[in-house]
Symmetry: C2
């Protein structure tokens, strides 16, 4: 009978990122989609997830729907709470990518500082900022959730693009003209980016 | 040129838990290790992670080290903050298990209510509470981090087992007599539990 001792762990060695990549056939990564409401973030996020899963990879979409009801259920929509929301999501995305998952984070995340922190929460070279460069006019025209209409009517405060600024990425890993580019082409560009970066080793 | 539309996603269908299991050869799950400081949580957590990775499965340890510096860096050690720490970890474990990861959470998590919430954050049947049933006297004798000595000296407030209660699980999925059982036997019992529950489909 050998009682567990903390030393045992160190002798056995913890699992390295390389070992994980070997077992999984992929490297964990964070694909961070940023852009206006209506730019196509969720659509592209779920289509990329679908393409990766179909290719035998492990991908997961983090979006408002699955964090606002749980991890960030205590947060509202004030500037401070929105910053904290992005901060937590960045940390979770970092943890999940450390575990080996290809995380696709879909958040307006309007401020450079918030996105910078999210990048820092992931391992170096494993964070891919993807700017959905769709003009505000197109997003507002689409208005899939009717939010722009409410924002213009003053029913939503601090709405990005209307009553709150959006700071475009200065040096994103990828820019998608998601206002005019077909969904399939957007997905292909994201997958190619991941492939080129060595994230996708070989489908299982 | 077909601009992305939210409808496209619904037509394509999001990835189901069954599809993930098929691709991954495992079902996501949360193994929640609870018990006194010094009961062997971290040791067992990392040894289980090692065993699962060696078997071709995707496992990841969530512990104080990787959340206290990031996701929960804003939290202290007051009762309220410790509850919030456990709450966030429970939510993150739930998300990671939804992605398909076998999460091994290693937290004292002394209160039933906190563990109940963590269970609710995971899908039904995918949460495994593992009680490390090591007598306090053994934990204090081990005192690997010298914390009991400090707690006895009054240098740490609200220390579980000394100046703050521990509520043992009433109906855990597994009880490990980690005070006397060999580490290898502890790991085997956890892995067998996961195997019996259908979490481990087939090593890749």
């Amino acid at each position: 009978m050998v009682p567990p001792s903390p030393n045992v762990v160190r002798q056995r060695g913890q699992v390295s990122a390389d070992e994980r990549a070997e077992v999984l056939g992929q490297r964990g990564a964070v694909v961070w989609l940023t852009g206006f409401s209506g730019a196509g973030k969720s659509t592209i996020a779920f289509a990329v997830e679908r393409a990766l899963i179909d290719g035998g990879f492990m991908a997961f979409v983090l979006d408002g729907d699955n964090v606002r009801h749980g991890l960030c259920a205590d947060l509202g929509f004030s500037a401070v709470d929105r910053d904290e929301n992005v901060r937590r999501v960045g940390e979770v995305a970092g943890l999940m990518s450390e575990a080996g998952v290809i995380v696709i984070a879909s958040f307006i995340s309007p401020f450079r500082e918030g996105r910078r922190k999210a990048r820092l929460a992931a391992a170096p070279g494993r964070f891919f900022e993807v700017f959905l460069d769709t003009p505000l006019s197109i997003c507002e025209q689409r208005d899939p959730k009717g939010l722009y209409e409410k924002a213009r009517a003053g029913q939503i405060a601090d709405f990005t693009g209307i009553s709150s600024p959006y700071e475009p990425p200065l040096d994103p890993e990828l820019v998608l003209a998601s206002g005019t580019l077909a969904l399939e082409a957007c997905v292909e560009q994201v997958v190619d980016m991941l492939s080129d970066a060595g994230v996708l080793k070989a489908g299982r």
